[in-house]
């Protein structure tokens, strides 16, 4: 028996099957973001929301350096970490893409294992390595290189960057690996045949063709890191403070309006960057991994 397969029936089916997810996202994401935005424009009060419109929170954020500097700091730290991640991660992916595929997959697997330990715990392990009573200091002390533990290693800008790199490195290597493996070998041969040497091939073929991986990294590393608060609050100290730490501070203190305003700023910035990247490069940038 043939069933009616009219256009409108088809549409209805698509609509109905998409309804649960769409409704879910609508309520749990868009409505709750809406409430957050609304609250960010109310008078700052502790424990309560007083529904009267004001820009007070935003005025304060944009005039007080105590807020501005962590915001700038956030961008600085995350930008530096992302650039370093690409610099550190690319050669690894490049190497893995050149060994035979079987070994490559095994090495990727090897790279994923450390990620199985929650990053908070790894952060803490780093503290035991770089911290005041950690490995490095006790080693240096016993060798007599220093006579007082080094403290700049931890609770600093530097520590946040190191830990971010450690946390995200596998997530950078894998998209680059997938991307590099996907470049047909014939392209390199053609370039070689046309007279290019190793370096010229790298510059003119490899680099332009890994742009999709760079985008992926921006999506899965750069943007999420802008909201990071556990790492800076565990190891960042004063110089490593980030926007996420501030948001958490105000929320824990139940000053919701102010926390909401800070969150909305973060949302606007990241959403703006994401939409810009999607507009320029298309959704395919999201699919690479």
């Amino acid at each position: 028996m043939r069933r009616p397969t009219g256009e409108s029936l088809q549409r209805l089916r698509i609509f109905l099957s998409n309804l649960p997810a769409s409704a879910y996202i609508f309520i749990m994401f868009y409505v709750s973001i809406g409430i957050l935005i609304a609250i960010s424009f109310t008078v700052p009060r502790k424990y309560i929301v007083e529904w009267s419109f004001t820009l007070e929170n935003y005025v304060r954020i944009f005039t007080d350096p105590r807020f501005l500097s962590p915001i700038l700091n956030t961008f600085l730290i995350v930008t530096v970490a992302t650039i370093l991640l690409i610099i550190v991660g690319f050669p690894i992916a490049y190497y893995l893409a050149r060994v035979n595929p079987n070994l490559g997959i095994k090495l990727i697997f090897f790279l994923i294992i450390p990620v199985e330990v929650n990053y908070l715990i790894r952060v803490y392990a780093w503290r035991n390595i770089l911290g005041e009573n950690g490995f490095l200091n006790s080693l240096l002390l016993s060798l007599g290189v220093i006579d007082k533990p080094l403290t700049f290693l931890f609770y600093s800008w530097f520590a946040v960057v190191i830990v971010l790199i450690h946390e995200w490195l596998p997530y950078v290597v894998i998209p680059f690996y997938v991307n590099l493996v996907g470049i047909p070998r014939q392209l390199y041969e053609a370039a070689m045949d046309l007279g290019a040497n190793r370096w010229q091939i790298f510059r003119s073929i490899t680099l332009p063709l890994v742009k999709p991986a760079v985008l992926t990294v921006l999506f899965i590393v750069f943007i999420p890191s802008l909201g990071e608060f556990a790492i800076p609050s565990l190891v960042g100290g004063e110089s490593g403070i980030m926007l996420g730490v501030l948001i958490d501070r105000y929320l824990s203190d139940f000053r919701l309006a102010f926390g909401a305003a800070l969150s909305f700023i973060l949302l606007l910035v990241t959403m703006g960057l994401s939409i810009l990247m999607i507009k320029i490069f298309g959704y395919e940038a999201l699919y690479q991994r």
Binding site: P184, L187, A191, M192, D193, G195, S204, I205
Partner: protein
């Protein structure tokens, strides 16, 4: 056209092994200046490997290469005066037509004005000048093809290597491009080595054909020589259609060998055979004739049979004839002479000297 004295490339006993498999076994070949040599062979016969060794993308396990008398065996690809058009084209997907074609010159640091001039020149030559600033990913198969050829031609290589460059295109487009390629080869005037597994393509394009099988170069020669005088059964069957008879020789006299094939007597030119030997006799369908009456004269092999199937092919017709010994052979007849119908009893015959006896 090609003078045998003017050898541009000499391949001297080249072999290539990949692990356990021998992709090439002891291949020797002279390529003449200005010719269009087609290497023909089934999949896996080693055509690409030979081409890649000539280009320098692969190193031979043994044997040497000489270009214009100079040993180039150990030169890297970018120091060889060859350029390759790849099986899957290998156009750079992130570049425009212009950037792809200009690539080789840019790498060599040629000044911008000269690059522009030469790109325009070569794009006109392959007739895609108007596509200059398109992304190559936005081109049709035939257009991409032209870009790939232009990208190599712009470097004015002594030898252009083409590895099944039309493999991905449909039949009609292939046929159009065959004519284009012929024209292009004549206009440019350099030496081309063209690889294909399509015998029709080979016969259309080639000056000379080299036939490969299982890593060996079995026969090289002018295309009609290879067609008319194949050296082995493989060559005879791979190029064109043929009827193959397995004949055991029992008599040789006056330069004519005679033997039997499934109850029929068959004669052919002696090639230094001995009685008792078994050979293969290849007879092309167009060298066979049919008639209702037996032919007059002594110089024919004559069989008797019934028309089984008639296949109309436009300008000619193929008849499948079931012989009295039960075997089926194929005969080609021009359409205007195709006066037979299935069921007709006919004589099939050919002149002794039209059969080509083969030892292997």
């Amino acid at each position: 056209m090609a003078k045998s004295a003017d050898v541009i490339l000499r391949v001297d006993r080249v072999s290539k092994r990949f692990g356990e498999t021998w992709a090439l076994r002891d291949v020797s070949l002279d390529v003449y200046r200005g010719e269009l040599l087609v290497l023909l062979g089934p999949s896996g016969s080693g055509k690409s490997t030979l081409l890649r060794i000539i280009a320098g993308l692969e190193t031979a396990t043994s044997g040497r290469l000489y270009m214009d008398g100079v040993d180039i065996t150990d030169l890297p690809p970018y120091k060889r005066d060859t350029s390759m058009v790849f099986q899957h084209l290998a156009l750079f997907p992130h570049m425009t037509v212009y950037e792809n074609v200009a690539y080789g010159l840019k790498i060599r640091g040629v000044p911008k004005e000269e690059i522009d001039r030469r790109v325009d020149e070569v794009l006109s030559l392959v007739r895609i000048r108007e596509l200059r600033d398109r992304k190559v990913t936005k081109l049709s198969g035939g257009q991409q093809q032209r870009v790939a050829i232009a990208r190599s031609l712009i470097l004015r290589p002594k030898i252009l290597l083409l590895d099944e460059p039309l493999g991905a295109l449909d039949l009609k487009l292939r046929k159009e491009l065959h004519i284009e390629l012929k024209r292009l080869h004549e206009e440019v005037g350099n030496t081309w080595i063209f690889v294909t597994h399509d015998q029709e393509e080979a016969l259309t394009l080639a000056d000379r054909i080299g036939v490969m099988n299982e890593g060996r170069l079995i026969q090289v020669g002018e295309k009609w020589d290879v067609y008319d005088y194949p050296k082995t059964r493989f060559v005879a069957e791979f190029i064109g259609e043929t009827n193959m008879f397995t004949v055991s020789i029992d008599d040789i006299s006056g330069g004519v060998a005679t033997g039997s094939w499934k109850g029929f007597r068959v004669s052919f030119k002696d090639g230094g055979f001995r009685p008792g030997e078994t050979i293969y006799l290849s007879v092309r369908p167009e060298n066979l004739h049919i008639s209702k009456e037996p032919p007059r004269g002594e110089e024919y092999n004559v069989f008797h049979g019934v028309v089984d199937v008639e296949v109309f092919r436009g300008s000619y017709v193929i008849y499948h004839i079931r012989l009295d010994n039960g075997e089926v052979i194929r005969v080609t007849v021009l359409s205007k002479d195709a006066e037979f119908d299935p069921g007709d009893r006919v004589y099939v015959y050919w002149r002794f000297d039209k059969g080509v006896p083969l030892r292997e």
